[in-house]
Each structure stands twice: as structure tokens, then as C-alpha cells.
């Protein structure tokens, strides 16, 4: 059994009285201890996806549409009772947000807030609980945790605040940590530290990590598997190294082509024209086709499905169901920590693009 199995997730949120389908049919499987990077620009639906997993969407102004399924260790989370959801939230699944200052309560000390998280999920008395708080703060690299536990959020630097948020997330010993742009609000040198920390924790506790970022570089530092989201749909997924080496989807190629490097100046930047469309105005057919340099007549009419890429060049079977993409059920969950690198590699590449559909030849 996989740790997390998302099938045909469709989520909407309300904006200016209209319902916009931010996530539209996403399939995603995560194994224990696996680090998956979810890459997408703003408006791709990546944050709505994260909120859907935590069952936080209904609290605001959105909802998960019927027919969606999110299973955590086999347990269906869509339509789950709030009581049970609360046990899972911060317990088996924890989340770290982009902006630690707004996620921390300004009137309580950092230690008290971590303590609250500890007590919510574990039966501990005050003394034990406090010792656990100090242990967690030390774990996330906060120096002098005994003193810092007494500090209020505004007394800590941005990096220390994010570390405190991570300590809170760890309080329930999560099997899955969702980090939504955890470093975007931080300075470059601090970003690198937080990424190293996440990588270390994931590895040490054999914790699954869903890292959401607009930055391919951030994801490539930490995650074995990469999922590229565009306009509410997965357009490409596979081992990070493979995708970086040979991106298949024109959007992924454009995204990687927009990156800049330190090693040399790019002679010409070839950006993707246009911008991500609004969630209530997705184009017909392939959602990327208006921006795609390789689009042809079919792309504007019919939507391509996510197909697994075989070993042969572009010879993916046209299987609409991405079950062909995931690993054989449960077989990877037993893999020990030393084989961790193999998990990512064993996963097939899959792409949602007419250029890589197996039976394309016959249709033309």
C-alpha cells in the first residue's frame, strides 16, 4: 500500500463569486520516505492541491468535487469526519507554509506553540512535553533551544521562524510533510540551509516529503521525483534527474529554458510566450496549446492524456489511467533507507502531450 494515493482529484475554489477549478484530475502516488517535488507557476493549482490533501479547502472558500479520492495508507480522506481529519492534520500529515511570520501566533512564545503541537498528538505531561519541545528545536538546528523557546516569533529571524515551524510540523512525527514554498520568503543563504535541513530530516526519519515550489532548482536539490503541474493538471512526471536531463513536455522544456545559471550567461533567453491562464478560463484541448510552439490542430481540440513513456523513444502506451505510471502497488514501501535512491529511478516517466502519444501515427 502506498503512503498517499491521489486519484482524479478535482478541487475548486471560489473567486469573485465564481468557482474556478484549480486542480482538475490530478493523480499522484507517494511512497514512504519519498521526496516528491511539485513544480508549477502561480495559478498552476499547486497550493490548492496541498490544501486538498489536508482537508483544509472546505474551511475557506473551496471544495473537493465528488469522484476525487485521496487515500492516506488506504484510508479515504475525502469526505472524512472533521474529528478524524484533525487527528491526521499535524499528525500523520503536517504542513509547512511559505511565510512563517503569518503562520505563527505573535502573542505566544515559540516554545509554547511547539508544545501545543506536541500535546495535540501525544499524551505527555508538562515536563515531558517541554523536554520534547527542546529536543525538536534542537533537531531543526535552532541554537540554544532552551533560551530560544522563550522567544516570541518577532524576536526570531526569518530562518529561525521557519525552523520553528518545521519543529511544530515534526511534533506529530508525520509520515508525510508537505512544504509549500518553504524557502521563497527567505534569503538566499538561509534558503540553502532550510533545504539542507528538510533533506536531512526526510532522510533521517524516513519521512515522505511533498515539496511545492515554483523553483525547479529548489526541487532538484531535494527531490528524487518531480511532478510538473500546469493549469491544474499534471503535464509531466518522473525522476528529477531524467526530467532535467531530457524534458519532454514543451511546457517543461520552456520552464527549464527560462532558468538562469551562474556558470555562464545565456546568449538568448527563450521564454514561453504569454502567461498561465486564469483558473476559470482554461483553454480547450491541451491547456498549454496557446503558448506552445509545437502545437498543431489536434492540440486545440482534444485534450491529451497522461501517458507512460516506455523505454523506446516516445512509445508510450496510450493509457489514460496513470496507474500505469505508479509503481506496482506497495512493492516499494518495504525498501530500506539505503535503497532510497532507487525509488525515484524505478518510477516511469509520463507526459501529457500529443507529441508523445503512442497511437498518434495512426490518427494522422
Amino acid at each position: 500500500m502506498s503512503l498517499l494515493e491521489i486519484r482524479n482529484l478535482r478541487s475548486v475554489f471560489r473567486t469573485r463569486g465564481e468557482e474556478a477549478r484549480a486542480v482538475d484530475g490530478v493523480d499522484l502516488t507517494m511512497e514512504r520516505g519519498e521526496a516528491v517535488g511539485l513544480v508549477g507557476e502561480s495559478g498552476s493549482g499547486k497550493t490548492v492541491l496541498a490544501l486538498s490533501i489536508l482537508g483544509l479547502l472546505s474551511h475557506g472558500s473551496g471544495r473537493i468535487l465528488p469522484g476525487s479520492s485521496i487515500r492516506l495508507r488506504g484510508e479515504e480522506m475525502v469526505g472524512m469526519k472533521e474529528r478524524r481529519l484533525r487527528q491526521i492534520r499535524g499528525g500523520a500529515v503536517a504542513m509547512v507554509f511559505q511565510e512563517p511570520m503569518t503562520s505563527l501566533n505573535p502573542v505566544f512564545t515559540v516554545g509554547d506553540q511547539v508544545l501545543e503541537a506536541v500535546k495535540a498528538h501525544r499524551a505527555m505531561d508538562g515536563r515531558e512535553g517541554w523536554a520534547e519541545v527542546i529536543r525538536l528545536l534542537r533537531e531543526v538546528g535552532i541554537p540554544e533551544p532552551e533560551q530560544r523557546a522563550g522567544a516570541y516569533p518577532h524576536q526570531l529571524s526569518g530562518g529561525m521562524r521557519q525552523r520553528a515551524m518545521i519543529a511544530m510540523a515534526l511534533a506529530g512525527s508525520p509520515a508525510l510533510l508537505i512544504a509549500d514554498e518553504p524557502t521563497s520568503a527567505l534569503d538566499v543563504t538561509v534558503q540553502a540551509q532550510i533545504l539542507e535541513l528538510l533533506k536531512r530530516l526526510q532522510s533521517r526519519f524516513h519521512m515522505a516529503l511533498l515539496l511545492i515550489s515554483h523553483d525547479v532548482g529548489v526541487v532538484s536539490r531535494v527531490c528524487q521525483t518531480m511532478v510538473v503541474l500546469y493549469a491544474g493538471k499534471v503535464v509531466e512526471k518522473g525522476p528529477t534527474q531524467d526530467i532535467l536531463r531530457s524534458p519532454r513536455h514543451p511546457y517543461t522544456r520552456g520552464l527549464l529554458g527560462s532558468r538562469l545559471f551562474l556558470k555562464d550567461r545565456r546568449r538568448v533567453l527563450r521564454p514561453i510566450p504569454g502567461e498561465v491562464p486564469e483558473a476559470n478560463a482554461w483553454p480547450e484541448g491541451c491547456r498549454f496549446h496557446p503558448r506552445c510552439s509545437e502545437a498543431w490542430h489536434l492540440c486545440g481540440r482534444e485534450e491529451p492524456r497522461l501517458v507512460a513513456m516506455g523505454l523506446g523513444r516516445g512509445a508510450g502506451a496510450r493509457e489514460g489511467d496513470s496507474r500505469v505510471v505508479g509503481p506496482p502497488g506497495g512493492s516499494l514501501s518495504e525498501v530500506g533507507p539505503t535503497d532510497r535512491g532507487g525509488e525515484g529511478r524505478s518510477r516511469a516517466r509520463s507526459v501529457r502531450c500529443w507529441l508523445f502519444s503512442g497511437d498518434l501515427g495512426e490518427e494522422t
Binding site: 529571524s157 526569518g158 538566499v188 531535494v222 528529477t240 538562469l260 551562474l262 521564454p271 535512491g341
Partner: protein, 372 residues
């Protein structure tokens, strides 16, 4: 600071940018910043009474040559944004000079200042926060033209508005939209059009692409480079992202805690960063080359001492709050290799020549150079 860097004033330009070291080969200095410093009282009236001040800039000097793009790089609290604003006198720095074609901007009369603002403009980081939400894009541009344009007719102004929109890759119909009806990239294009509307020579860009998505960021960078060439603009780019700087800048100045720690032509800097801060910044920013780099988890399950991306170690700690710095090198608390003698603690190193084209403020580098 031991002493302000007076020597630079009389130095020939080659000290800062040797011929052939930069793209154009620049001669004329358009803007000079001399020993600029700025303190402010943080917080509200209560803290003000305590007379605690934060020194944001500590004697920054730099020259901007006509036609070049000079990047000022630093993390939050480095003073880079304060520097950008002081250059245009959007704030009044507490010390130093800003010379635009030899005239001190900080002492200009209101009339002179108005003329200066037609020569020097700024593009802000957040286009949404810097555009009037109640004005349509076209009307906003027209207003700028009316204020700065003298006696031009309404018809000619409208013509000019369309011209400006096209210049930045927008179309005429975008002129009828309110800022909230534009996307982030379009808003930033509009911000650039606003800055260009008065026909400036100098464009100050304060983190112009950091709020934009990756695919849009590349579009805007292309636009800026294109505009720089077509309009022969001089640009002062304030940024924290080294890869952006690498792409567009000719020369780079690195600031840390309000102090310039290194300045060099872009090629030299990226080929061989000298100051330990520059190296740390590069290690942090380097997310690998074309192929993933250090993508997956290291074989060591603990992974504690995982390999940093580049050849240099990741820096410990965080950018300092400038209020707490007293004596010594501003970087010493995070420096991976301070000198064994206590020089780094006792005095602040001056920015001195290092090789023919760069300048570095580091006691260690000075020691190693005299040693060899």
C-alpha cells in the same frame, strides 16, 4: 569604518572597470555615489526615545558608467534597496553624496530635482503596490506625461501612451485596463513603461523580476536587455538573485550589512569570487548546472554533512541585523575563514584593489596577497 574611501573619487575609471573587461568599454561616469551612509530610528516613538539607530548604509561608494548595467547584490538588510532609493532621493540619506553628471542630487533645488527625475527613474519590485489601483493603465501613463511633459497636447500624449505600451510589449487595449485586470508580468511591463515615459537616461531597477513567475521572468529580462540597447539606458539593478545578475549585469557590487565587500566585472566575479561572502552566496545560489547537480539524497542516511552545491561551503547564520554591529569586519560573525590574529574583530577592512579589475574588502585577502 576606518575611513571613507576617498581615493576612488580621483581614480581613473579603469580601477573599477578595465577596458575590455566589460561588454561595452565604458568611459563617462553618469552617476557617482560617494561615502553614502544612512541611519534610521527603527520602530515607533517608544523605541525612538531610546535613541537606538540602525545604520543601513555604512559609507558606500560606487561609480556608474554611461550605458552599463551595474548590479547591486545583497540579502535582506544589506541596504541595497535603501541605496537604490537614496540614489533617486526618494529618501534622504544621512551622509554622503550622490553625483549625477557631477551635480549632487541630495542638494538639488525642487526645480533641479524635477529635471533630474526626468533623467532618472525607478522600477519597483512589486508592480501592484506601485501602480494606482484607481487609474487605468493609459490614464496613468498620460498623467506622468502631463506632469513631466511640459506643454504637449492631449492628442500627442495619447499617441505617446500607445507608443510606450508597444515599447514594453503591451498592446493598445491594455491601456484601458486597471492594474488588477493585468497579470503580474503585464503590470511589471506597465511599471517599466511608466519609468520610460519621461525618457530617462538612468533606470534604477529594484528587484524587477523577483515577484514574477519563472517563464514571465525570462520575458521581462529579455525586454529589459532589449530596451537597454535600443534606448542606450544606463541601469542600476538591485537584486538578490545571482543568476539574474549574471544574465544582465556588466559589473557587480556586493553589499553586506551596508558595506561593499566586493566589486568586479561580471565575468571575473563568477569565474572567481574572492570575498568569503560572495563565495557563500554562490554556493547557496548554485542549484546545479544543466543536469540536476546534487539532486537526490546523499548515500549517507544521516546526511548531516551533506555536500554543498558548489565548491564553497554554505554560510552559517543569517544576514545580521545592522543594529548590533560595532567594531570590525561586518562579515566576521559568519565568516568561515577569519584571520588568526584579531584584525577582523578590531577594524573594518577597506575596499581595496585586488588584481587589476576588482576590489575586495577583506583582511584575509589582503594578508594572502601580501604573503605571496
Amino acid at each position: 569604518m576606518r575611513s571613507p574611501d576617498k581615493r576612488m573619487v580621483t581614480d581613473p575609471p579603469k580601477v573599477l572597470a578595465g577596458p575590455g573587461e566589460t561588454r561595452g568599454g565604458f568611459g563617462e561616469i553618469l552617476l557617482s555615489v560617494r561615502d553614502l551612509s544612512h541611519r534610521f530610528h527603527p520602530g515607533g516613538p517608544l523605541e525612538r526615545r531610546r535613541a537606538a539607530t540602525t545604520q543601513v548604509l555604512r559609507g558606500v561608494s560606487l561609480d556608474l558608467f554611461k550605458g552599463e548595467c551595474l548590479a547591486v547584490v545583497g540579502e535582506s538588510g544589506s541596504g541595497k534597496t535603501t541605496l537604490a532609493r537614496a540614489v533617486l532621493r526618494l529618501i534622504r540619506p544621512t551622509g554622503g553624496e550622490v553625483l549625477f553628471r557631477g551635480r549632487n542630487v541630495l542638494e538639488m533645488s525642487p526645480r533641479e530635482l524635477m529635471a533630474f527625475r526626468r533623467k532618472a527613474q525607478i522600477v519597483f519590485q512589486d508592480p501592484f503596490g506601485s501602480l494606482n489601483p484607481r487609474l487605468r493603465a493609459g490614464n496613468m501613463l498620460e498623467e506622468v506625461l502631463r506632469v513631466h511633459g511640459g506643454s504637449s497636447s492631449p492628442a500627442s500624449r495619447r499617441e505617446r501612451v500607445v507608443e510606450l505600451l508597444r515599447l514594453v510589449g503591451l498592446s493598445e487595449r491594455h491601456g484601458d485596463r486597471y492594474p488588477h485586470e493585468l497579470s503580474g508580468g503585464q503590470r511589471q511591463r506597465l511599471g517599466i513603461a511608466r519609468a520610460l515615459s519621461v525618457g530617462p537616461e538612468l533606470l534604477v531597477l529594484d528587484e524587477p523580476v523577483s515577484a514574477l513567475d519563472l517563464s514571465v521572468r525570462a520575458q521581462v529580462l529579455n525586454l529589459l536587455q532589449d530596451l537597454q540597447q535600443r534606448l542606450s539606458l544606463t541601469m542600476l539593478l538591485v537584486a538578490h538573485d545571482l543568476s539574474v545578475v549574471r544574465q544582465v549585469a556588466d559589473r557587480v557590487v556586493l553589499v553586506y550589512a551596508g558595506t561593499v565587500v566586493e566589486s568586479a566585472p561580471v565575468e571575473a566575479l563568477f569565474a572567481d569570487p574572492v570575498h568569503p561572502y560572495t563565495r557563500g552566496l554562490m554556493a547557496a545560489a548554485d542549484t546545479g548546472g544543466v543536469v540536476a547537480g546534487p539532486g537526490t539524497i546523499p548515500a549517507d542516511p544521516a546526511g548531516v554533512a551533506s555536500e554543498p552545491a558548489g565548491a564553497w561551503a554554505l554560510l552559517p547564520g543569517e544576514p545580521p541585523s545592522t543594529a548590533h554591529l560595532r567594531e570590525g569586519c561586518v562579515f566576521r560573525l559568519r565568516c568561515p575563514h577569519p584571520r588568526k590574529d584579531r584584525e577582523c574583530e578590531l577594524a573594518s577592512p577597506e575596499l581595496t584593489d585586488y588584481g587589476s579589475v576588482r576590489r575586495v574588502a577583506c583582511w584575509k585577502k589582503r594578508e594572502s596577497r601580501t604573503g605571496t
